[in-house]
Symmetry: C2
Subunit: 333 residues, 2 copies
């Protein structure tokens, strides 16, 4: 296991200490229980957005806390759901009187713990709604999931709901927008190498030198199948076709195309995949009108990528373009 | 070799096609000869900034082309200097009548080819100046370098000179600012794993499972020594001490701290290193007033990191904070 860390047990807290030291203008980091809160929280009258999940997917979710995106993130242990007390503490910290929206990736532990926190917060008089993301077309049910897994679309839901909340929309409206984004978004991923959970110390799975795992989950959960390593054109086709056929996306659709790195894949390769994806979309008559390319939802040092396509409309484009100021996404004034 | 690509020979052009497709609002990409130019170039009356170097270090340099940073970037083949005709074409494309500044990492081939292009441009009546970066304290002379190698500080020179040029400063002033940044910045890197140059198909060097290479170059050039893999605290100390002692940095200095990922190292580990670096700087009485954390100057999929420290003053802080709008760095309005 070759990693830049002090101890496997201390990895998450050491990284959070670094995050707190680097971004005091954006966030405040609490350790007992662990939650990252927007520096100016709670924002009076604004819907508060809370997400979270296992650590090891950075910049998700802590890197998306800030103006125009999340109000709080709850980092669990590596690949482990955050606990209800973390989520409850975050919910209290960001409640500005307009209710709190949870954005939850569809993994059984995450869903249960967010639900429990919502009940506890409700008992304290905080109105809570939830959006569950389940955009991964690779498999139905998985190691940690009933139904489809929540992956790349989560980043897009957080950005777009963040803009809606910042714009003063009410809790039920922000939740409806989040569900629309999840409903119009689809993803699929692929691994060239496994990753190593530090406390386990060994790879999450084995892959031969000439193999890739198609439909991989962000915790190394099994995908659809293994295959011989293909070209970028073949890989883009293997990922894009199930996505395009699932919604289905149709000629004339305007889409956001998100090519995500899994953590160990360099940017130059992601742009090769983007080139192939753009070709495939053009061939189907889709217009890519926005894009995002980089490592935004990762699986430690796994090599590989995922593709997410989101069907856009004018409102979603406007919300995507709205200013955002977080550690990992930053644009606008 | 496990990479997302079609053919080793086509990697750079395929990635550039993806880059062109993704960012038409920011850049125009030319292929014969290869150069990436700011979409609105040439900007009348503004000093044009041209950089370039071997590919495989993305987002350097193409990811830094745009308002407030570079006017053009010349991507060579993987780890190979751009040719004089690329640099000359870029120089012509960005000449807005106020001269052109070359930002060149100190590698023998790069320096020679930029010099040759400067001569050719000069013969056409374009005034050209150059800033050579040589911030790597690891070794004196190296596989491709006489003197010190240019590494992380290059990103900071490009940002800060970009702001100065955008602010209307004259060629000699922008060049002087660039030299000041290089003079006040120091870097050192470390590898946990080698990388594979696609056309070679084998690792640039070998490292045992429990070894790291201290003082690595961004093309896998040998560093100072190999050592048993250490903790993040030890690694940060190994990199920071030679940097701090070299300038030297002194108690009371205000610095920008840049923790750079080499391409295969995930963000969570970079924040652990940042935490340790912040502790070390505090122990020496340095104040980190700005930071940059992420993979900005990479070596394909190499795992590892580098640290750069830059001594700041009020002018450099103002230029660092100025708006920038590129594919890889974006802030301000």
């Amino acid at each position: 296991m070759k990693k830049l860390l002090n101890t496997p047990e201390g990895l998450v807290d050491d990284a959070l200490r670094g995050f707190a030291a680097a971004h005091p203008d954006l966030v405040t980091v609490h350790f007992e229980p662990r939650h990252i809160v927007r520096a100016d929280a709670p924002v009076r009258g604004k819907v508060g957005l809370v997400s979270g999940g296992g650590s090891g997917h950075e910049p998700l979710h802590g890197g998306f806390v800030g103006r125009g995106m999340l109000d709080a993130a709850c980092p669990g242990a590596i690949f482990t759901s955050p606990t209800p007390d973390q989520i409850l503490a975050a919910t209290r910290a960001v409640d500005g009187g307009a209710g709190v929206l949870q954005i939850v990736k569809n993994y059984t532990g995450d869903v249960l713990n967010f639900e429990m926190a919502a009940e506890l917060a409700g008992a304290e008089g905080i109105e809570v709604a939830a959006v569950i993301t389940d955009d991964d077309v690779a498999v139905q049910d998985s190691l940690y999931t009933a139904g489809r897994r929540g992956v790349g679309v989560t980043v897009l839901v957080e950005k777009i709901c963040g803009a809606a909340a910042e714009g003063g929309r009410a809790l039920d409206e922000v939740a409806a927008i989040g569900r629309r984004v999840n409903g119009q978004g689809r993803s699929m991923g692929l691994a060239l190498t496994p990753c190593v959970v530090p406390q386990a110390g060994r790879p999450t799975f084995e892959l031969a030198d000439d193999e890739m795992e198609i439909g991989i989950g962000i915790h190394g959960e099994p995908g659809r199948r293994r295959a011989k390593l293909g070209t970028a054109a073949e890989i883009a086709e293997l990922l894009a076709t199930p996505i395009l056929d699932d919604l289905p996306f149709r000629a004339g659709d305007e889409v956001l195309a998100f090519v995500n790195g899994m953590g160990g894949t360099p940017l130059i390769e992601l742009y090769v995949i983007y080139h192939e994806l753009a070709r495939i979309c053009a061939g189907r008559g889709l217009r890519i009108v926005r894009n995002l390319i980089g490592p935004y939802i990762t699986a430690l040092e796994m090599a590989g990528c995922s593709i997410t396509l989101l069907r856009l409309d004018d409102e979603l484009i406007r919300l995507w373009d709205a200013p955002v100021e977080t550690a990992a996404l930053r644009w606008g004034s």
